[in-house]
């Protein structure tokens, strides 16, 4: 048994060795892990045969049993297993990669046994990550915070894709716990912020690749990958194979849901996204892709009308998530500091107005954004919080919003009409 009130990373234990002779080891030592052979989580295909379902259930049962065993281990033994058992890390990552998302077009077969096992493994996986994100389990069981930060980072116990997976898989009902987990991970190991910095350009490339696959381009994408003169004519959203089109919409709904879930659960990430010009690229993408994809969903010939409606709902859901993500970015980086009455309110107000101004050319995005989050509300807030706000500028923005609604043939929202009447 490890000694109490000393961080785990400094503890030593005396226990019998392989030949029975007592030996002293650091509490965290590879020889203290048990050879358990965690199996990976496997994706169950939609048209699985009974034998495949049975095999899936067997894998899941083994994982649940092993993780329950793991969670029941004392603190020191748990961490030896986590750090030195590669099969455990493979098992956890395989779940994050393959676990069905509720937004997947094919969900697990509706067998009660499969559903029950899936629920059970889902919770056990979450608890395992929760324990791995906890550096202080009790007064007796804890790490030196800086060593904890080093351990989780150096051993890839958490990385940015894993954190995003955790958000999209568990964030809906466990946001509070997830926030505490992710906040602790980033606090104990600030290198995760650098990794996030490195990740945002790849996220942007995902949007570029969608535009590219649809034969569309926006300014950012052109700047990165100039089109070759000899390039073959790209298929468009209308002309590509149906499965490719379905995949694009699935990819878009997964990407937008994941990004939104992450920003919602961990608002501190918003600053990083904003600093990489994410907001501008998102609005450009929205403007370029959404009308084109909508047109394709409406006009393409689908044998299965259910699929067509499902794709529309997915696209529309993606639009909501993009708009909500833009709002989260503005809320956490500009509006919240103003609401909290922080210093430099004028600077935050200036930034907010700058962002609104940058939305003006993107009429479709602007109209959709304004319908969800009336810009008049935010401008009204600015007028209340900062007396010296430039009215000419705010008026110019509101005219732009009106114009966006008009150009799309949409009626002006009530909030806008009322605001204009009172101002």
């Amino acid at each position: 048994m490890a000694s109490a009130r000393v961080p785990l990373d400094e503890q030593v234990v005396t226990e019998p060795g392989p030949v029975g002779k007592e030996r002293t080891l650091p509490a965290l030592h590879p020889e203290r892990k048990e050879d358990r052979c965690f199996v990976p989580y496997k994706l169950l295909v939609e048209d699985a045969s009974p034998a495949e379902v049975e095999e899936f259930l067997e894998y899941v049962r083994f994982i649940i049993e092993d993780l329950e065993w793991l969670l029941a281990l004392p603190h020191d033994k748990f961490w030896c297993q986590v750090l030195f058992d590669e099969s455990l890390q493979m098992c956890l990552e395989s779940y994050l990669r393959h676990a069905p998302r509720s937004l997947d077009i094919t969900v697990l077969p509706s067998s009660p046994a499969v559903a029950e096992m899936q629920r059970s493994i889902h919770k056990t996986i979450f608890l395992t990550f929760l324990r791995m994100a906890t550096h202080k389990e009790s007064k007796e069981n804890f790490f030196t915070p800086s060593v904890f930060g080093e351990i989780i980072y150096e051993n890839f116990l958490f990385d940015i894709p894993k954190i995003l997976d955790l958000c999209v898989l568990f964030g809906k009902g466990n946001g509070h716990l997830l926030h505490k987990m992710i906040d602790n991970i980033f606090t104990q190991q600030p290198s995760y912020y650098s990794d996030l910095e490195e990740t945002v350009p790849t996220v942007l490339r995902v949007f570029d690749s969608i535009l590219d696959k649809c034969g569309l381009q926006c300014e950012g994408a052109t700047a990165i990958e100039p089109l070759r003169l000899t390039a073959h004519k790209q298929p468009t959203a209308m002309s590509m194979e149906q499965q490719d089109f379905v995949d694009i919409l699935l990819y878009l709904s997964d990407s937008t849901t994941t990004i939104h879930a992450f920003m919602d659960i961990f608002p501190a990430a918003c600053t990083t996204f904003l600093s990489h010009g994410f907001l501008g690229r998102l609005t450009l993408f929205y403007e370029a892709a959404v009308p084109d994809l909508e047109r394709a969903v409406r006009k393409r010939n689908f044998d299965d009308k259910g699929l067509q409606e499902d794709l529309w709902r997915r696209l529309s859901h993606s639009c909501r998530k993009m708009v909500e993500s833009a709002h989260l970015l503005l809320h956490h980086t500009c509006l919240q500091p103003i609401l909290e009455g922080k210093e430099n309110m004028q600077t935050f107000a200036e930034e907010l107005l700058q962002h609104f101004t940058s939305f003006l050319p993107e009429k479709r995005f602007l109209a959709d954004y304004n319908e969800q989050f009336p810009i008049t509300d935010d401008i009204s807030l600015l007028h209340q919080a900062i007396p010296v706000i430039d009215e000419t500028r705010t008026s110019y923005i509101l005219q732009g919003v009106e114009s966006a609604h008009d150009s799309l043939g949409r009626g002006r929202p009530q909030s806008l009409v009322q605001f204009r009447a009172f101002s």
Binding site: P40, H98, S102, T199, S253, S255, T258, V323
Partner: protein, 197 residues
């Protein structure tokens, strides 16, 4: 087929995670079962302890009957674990069967699943035989004594009594669902059309 995911792209195209070949199959069910049998064999309850427990405090006739049942249980275990395994593996399997059936009067779904999980596919007749043998072995003994014997010697049972991390955590199974901004336009255009007509 795997689904197109943002995190899949990040794993492929960014440098912020460990690069591992996930197509490589580390452990399959067969390897896992062998490992599980190995771990079970290391647990506290042994075949010798069961033999001693079933024979002690019995008269000679009952001891002989018990000895016969124990032999039959070993034979059934051999059929379940496979003939190519050594005596140690067979005895360990017999221990597992004794633990599984000590308080059961028939081979139910749970027991079938449990045996299959440990040894893979097995002849059902061997499970029936095991169940009957164990029933006859424990019949002359007090139920509470058998239960105490299992609880005392099996580290598997003991470990389950311990506290587990997260048992008090309130976990939500809620998940994100599609939340579209607007419905598919065809439904509204249908309405328009019917009005026009």
């Amino acid at each position: 087929m795997s689904h197109p995911r943002l995190t899949g792209a990040l794993r492929s195209f960014s440098n912020v995670c460990k690069k591992e070949d996930f197509t490589e199959q580390r452990y399959d069910l067969k390897t896992k079962r062998l490992k599980r049998q190995e771990l079970f064999a290391k647990e506290g309850l042994t075949w010798q302890k069961i033999v001693h427990f079933c024979s002690e405090h019995q008269d000679r006739a009952k001891q002989q009957a018990a000895s016969q049942e124990l032999k039959s249980l070993l034979l059934a275990a051999k059929q379940i674990v496979g003939a190519d395994h050594g005596q140690e593996a067979i005895e360990s399997a017999a221990v597992f069967l004794f633990e599984t059936f000590h308080n059961k009067d028939h081979v139910g779904t749970e027991e079938t699943r449990s045996i299959r999980q440990m040894f893979g596919p097995f002849p059902s007749v061997a499970a029936e035989t095991s169940c009957n043998c164990v029933a006859r072995l424990v019949a002359p003994l007090e139920n509470s004594n058998v239960e105490d014997f299992i609880q005392t010697h099996s580290s598997h049972h003991n470990s389950k009594r311990g506290s587990s991390f997260g048992r008090n955590i309130v976990f939500s199974y809620d998940c994100y669902t599609l939340d579209p901004l607007e419905d598919f336009p065809s439904s509204s255009s249908h309405k328009d059309m019917s009005l026009d007509m």
